[in-house]
């Protein structure tokens, strides 16, 4: 039992690592098609990573261990998240290691290492990116935790596996206002955390408008490859987490037999979410940095309403 469970977890990690760049490629492809372009194909991010891994990393003068360590730690935390979050299986042996709060904390840890690395370079753009990223991180936290409250209050536990199994057991809860509102709130959070439009524009070339890009301006070669890989992994994990929390059907327990189905379901769900996000990004423009708090306040209200409505019904 435990061995199969750990095999499932390992498969999950492998799937996330291999699939994350494809997800990014898919989103870019969708965007390209909607803009009337042909697009580079969904495997382009993998080509970029392969090439970057072959190129020499650079150590700018005056940077230290924070700069060197950040890409590794970023990937490390993302790998741990990929093992902990129930994407393919609810029976990961690490289930009791980290709950939803710990997952949020690990995500923040990754962001913080990158921000420290950006400050470590001592360039104006690095500091700017770090400051903006930290501001958004601070404002996002309340929404996440209140949404977590809305999700876990009924379950009596913040362990992800238990929340997912509870949802599996009575599907009607998914359609309840509480969970719909929580889903909306968390979607906004995911967009903000992964630096997509309208909070941050991953394709910008103008340093003054950057948030995430500004922090990694100094990375080159394999370091950059790690950062890019980690970013795409975080996106995949967060989207997968959304699907597991709100549309958990098809997810496997501790059995290898159910794994292919779970894999297919996971792929389809995340791909659909990714296509939706990619398409939405064609229609919306980036918000001014100081309009972002409005968006996050809105998501916070959604989360509070989720909690409140879970009382209304209780």
């Amino acid at each position: 039992m435990n061995r199969t469970a750990s095999i499932c977890a390992a498969v999950q990690v492998v799937v996330v690592v291999a699939g994350a760049p494809l997800l990014v490629g898919l989103m870019r492809q969708v965007r390209a098609r909607l803009e009337g372009r042909a697009g580079a194909g969904i495997s382009q991010p993998w080509r970029d990573l392969r090439k970057l891994l072959r190129r020499a990393p650079a150590t700018p003068t005056g940077t230290g261990w924070a700069f060197r360590l950040a890409p590794l730690l970023l990937v490390g935390t993302s790998l741990v998240l990929a093992a902990v979050v129930p994407l393919l299986t609810t029976a990961s042996p690490l289930n009791h290691t980290a709950d939803l709060f710990a997952v949020v904390g690990l995500l923040a840890l990754g962001t913080v290492t990158l921000a420290l690395a950006a400050l470590d370079t001592g360039t104006a753009f690095g500091g700017m990116g770090a400051s903006r990223e930290m501001t958004i991180l601070a404002l996002v936290e309340p929404t996440i935790l209140v949404a977590v409250l809305a999700l876990s209050a009924r379950v009596g536990s913040t362990n992800l596996a238990e929340i997912v199994t509870t949802t599996l057991n009575d599907p009607l809860r998914v359609a309840s206002p509480a969970s719909l509102l929580a889903a909306a709130a968390l979607l906004i959070v995911v967009v903000a955390e992964t630096g997509r439009l309208p909070v941050d524009n991953p394709a910008t070339h103008l340093e003054l408008t950057m948030i995430h890009e500004a922090m990694i301006l100094e990375y080159a070669g394999s370091d950059l490859a790690l950062v890019e890989l980690a970013a795409s992994m975080r996106l995949t994990i967060l989207l997968g987490l959304l699907t597991s929390l709100f549309l958990p059907w098809g997810i496997a327990g501790a059995s290898l037999a159910a794994l292919p189905l779970a894999l297919a379901a996971f792929g389809v769900k995340v791909a659909i979410l990714g296509i939706g996000l990619g398409a939405a990004e064609v229609f919306i423009a980036k918000l001014r940095l100081f309009r972002v708090p409005e968006l996050l306040a809105g998501s916070f209200v959604l989360a509070v309403l989720a909690v409140a409505s879970s009382f209304f019904l209780a």
Binding site: G36, G39, A40, R47, D48, K51
Partner: protein
């Protein structure tokens, strides 16, 4: 509403990218062998009249769509494998161009876009002109023309990506 208008426009427009022309024979640059289908490009305007910029813009635009061959414009030379340099190098931009070249990690490829970049063109001997790009940094690929056609730029980029 605005969203529906845009959606209708997208549906009516459909695909604007032209069908891909056959790949130019052979990789035009030995250094590009390692890139294998992906080249990140940083564009440096070393004093151009912006004619070449317009053509580069349209090369990456929907019609020619250089991105489908794996070429992408990036913000930082650290992320870049190749530099697209346009215009005769002015005295004020010479140092900046050299620094940008230094910032790109090995192996670095320099593509000189337009006659001015190749031999200072119209502006040869101008009081503010240092000279062609080759005087400042080693040039690997040249795209002649004043300004060069987007198709030519795309062809040069395909030479790098090998797609």
């Amino acid at each position: 509403m605005a969203v529906f208008k845009l959606w209708r426009k997208i549906r009516r427009t459909g695909r604007t990218a032209e069908p891909a022309p056959p790949r130019p024979a052979g990789s035009s640059c030995p250094k590009a062998a390692a890139l294998s289908g992906s080249v990140q490009v940083r564009h440096v305007d070393a004093g151009s009249c912006n004619g070449c910029e317009i053509e580069i813009g349209s090369a990456f635009g929907p019609v020619y769509d250089a991105e489908r061959y794996g070429a992408r414009l990036v913000a930082s030379p650290r992320h870049a494998d190749a530099l697209l340099v346009t215009g005769p190098v002015t005295r004020n931009m010479a140092a900046a161009l050299r620094r940008t070249f230094e910032a790109v990690s090995e192996p670095r490829i320099v593509v000189a876009i337009g006659d001015c970049a190749i031999d200072a063109g119209e502006f040869a001997g101008g009081y503010g002109v240092q000279g062609p790009v080759a005087d400042v940094v080693p040039v690997d690929v040249q795209v002649p023309g004043c300004p060069p056609e987007p198709a030519a730029i795309v062809a040069a980029l395909r030479g790098l990506t090998g797609r």
